[in-house]
């Protein structure tokens, strides 16, 4: 049982079409329900960043850049470095995106990426404190959607994590109570885990993974799950209107966990690591 009341007529036709296909294990672009589109991850593409990555997920293209600077810690976490995530849905990426300051969708994207990175404990924030309570590393992650064919969450997380994992930051040391650049060499950020997110679309009780823009217009609702490692969900965002049957949640967890492991393997290959550092 599913409801389509809120869809205009052509969308209803598309919805029904998709649902029929899924019942047969098929999708419009030839994928099976749980398949991702092809993924390409390129790192270190912007020389003026500390780290950067360009991710193509099918027709969705996202770039993430990492910059760092010294700054003050937040008052409630004096012994942790800061992460600041900003995301923009550039108007060149889709006729649905408008120029101007980040709207609710861009803010949601930034906050979901932030949550995936922060709550998964990807970075050991305590290792980038130079003077507790006074001077820490501030890590800026800027995410730009350049071309949009559905599902910006997963490639945004992939690009951000790849940019962080390959970033080379300056080495600082404390001398006479001041934080100074110690030498020309660069170091890596203290990475502990490789979070990924999996976006799931629902047509009634049926699940599809990584919906395209066309599918997004027809599905009943959608949910994003961030997985920190083998069996730990670290962020969830139901990101569209619509009902999710309580009973389908088990399947959502099962499928997203499996796909997360696939993505993580793909990501770690791209950043040149085959295992998580101890």
């Amino acid at each position: 049982m599913y409801r389509i009341g809120t869809k205009p007529y052509p969308t209803k036709i598309m919805h029904d079409k998709l649902y029929e296909l899924i019942l047969r294990g098929e999708r419009l672009d030839g994928r099976r329900p749980y398949d991702y589109r092809t993924i390409e991850i390129k790192t270190s593409i912007i020389e003026k960043t500390d780290g950067s990555a360009l991710v193509n997920l099918g027709g969705t293209k996202i770039i993430a850049g990492v910059k760092t600077s010294l700054g003050q810690p937040y008052p409630d976490t004096p012994e942790q470095g800061n992460i600041v995530v900003n995301a923009e849905l550039l108007p060149l990426a889709s006729s649905f995106f408008e120029p101007g300051p980040p709207d609710e969708k861009a803010i949601e994207l930034a906050r979901v990426v932030d949550r995936c990175i922060r709550e998964s404990k990807m970075l050991d924030l305590e290792k980038i404190v130079y003077i507790p309570g006074r001077t820490v590393l501030v890590v800026y992650i800027d995410v730009y959607v350049l071309d949009y064919d559905g599902n910006y969450f997963d490639p945004a997380v992939l690009a951000s994590v790849a940019a962080l994992a390959t970033a080379k930051i300056p080495v600082y040391e404390v001398r006479d109570g001041e934080v100074v650049l110690s030498h020309e060499a660069k170091t890596s950020l203290p990475i502990r885990r490789f979070p990924v997110s999996v976006t799931i679309g629902l047509l009634g009780d049926k699940i599809i993974v990584d919906p395209t823009s066309l599918e997004e217009s027809a599905i009943d609702t959608s949910i994003v799950l961030g997985w920190s490692q083998e069996d730990e969900v670290a962020a969830i965002q139901k990101n569209l209107q619509g009902l999710i049957s309580f009973n389908v949640m088990d399947e959502i967890i099962r499928v997203s966990k499996e796909k997360a492991n696939e993505l993580r393997t793909r990501l770690m290959e791209a950043v040149g690591r085959v295992g998580i550092e101890p």
């Binding site: 803010i107 730990e232 969900v233 619509g242 999710i244 049957s245 309580f246 949640m249 967890i253």
Partner: protein, 245 residues
């Protein structure tokens, strides 16, 4: 979030404020508390205090935003400057903008928008004191305000957060538990449809913990659902026959 200096849960499963793990804070829910709006509600969960008001259906404005086959729903979740520790600067924070979106989408799941083509329904949620669980209390109050306004909905949407604190799954985390705990998961449902309308997670849960948390949320949601329905009955019972004429 991981290192809790003092214990938040005692050996026998009691929390700092004396509650059991599956116990929510004292709740007060009222409908029809603001006269100007078409529907309104007030909720207290512990020290969290929230007003919600609904205006509409009315003409969508500006016109080009109107939808030919349904109403648009606008939702603003806003916190008073004095509602938090310290003072929040006036203006919408990124957090408030995100929560306005997820609450609106939760309510769009149940409002029968097709009944009012070309029109708009505005929902305003004003947090006058924030002490954990404001988004779920907000959606609870807002869905009650929609019902109070007589807008057709598939169901009320009670919501509550569940948390993981020192390895234990707890209902309706307090602000301290939220800050020091390992996970916070707000959930809102349409109970009659056994469906989730709002779901977020900050923090980490293993698969089986997630399941446990979701079941515990459902338990709390059913209690709130009952309180919402009572508030609605009380509101409509308070009309004298003369009002109905």
């Amino acid at each position: 979030m991981e290192k809790a200096e003092q214990r938040l849960i005692t050996e026998d499963g009691r929390r700092v404020d004396g509650r059991g793990l599956d116990e929510m804070r004292p709740v007060k829910i009222e409908a029809g508390v603001l006269d100007r709006s078409d529907g309104s509600a007030y909720i207290e969960m512990g020290k969290t205090k929230i007003y919600a008001a609904v205006y509409g259906p009315k003409e969508a404005h500006p016109r080009h935003l109107a939808q030919p086959h349904k109403a648009i729903l606008n939702c603003r979740y806003h916190m008073a400057s004095f509602s938090v520790e310290g003072r929040k600067a006036p203006g919408m924070t990124r957090r408030e903008i995100e929560l306005s979106k997820v609450i609106r989408q939760a309510l769009e799941s149940v409002v029968i928008l097709e009944e009012f083509p070309r029109s708009a329904i505005d929902i305003f949620i004003e947090v006058i004191q924030a002490d954990a669980g404001t988004r779920t209390a907000g959606v609870t109050a807002a869905s009650l305000a929609l019902a109070d306004a007589g807008i057709p909905i598939l169901d009320l949407c009670p919501g509550i957060a569940v948390g993981k604190v020192e390895g234990r799954i707890v209902l309706d985390p307090s602000e301290e538990e939220d800050k020091k705990g390992e996970a916070d998961m707000p959930v809102a449902m349409a109970p009659r449809l056994d469906s989730i309308v709002l779901l977020q997670l900050n923090g980490r849960l293993r698969s089986e913990e997630f399941r446990e948390a979701l079941l515990l949320a459902k338990k709390g949601i059913n209690v709130l659902y009952e309180l919402q329905r009572k508030a609605l009955s009380k509101k409509f019972a308070s009309f004298s026959p003369m009002d109905e004429e």
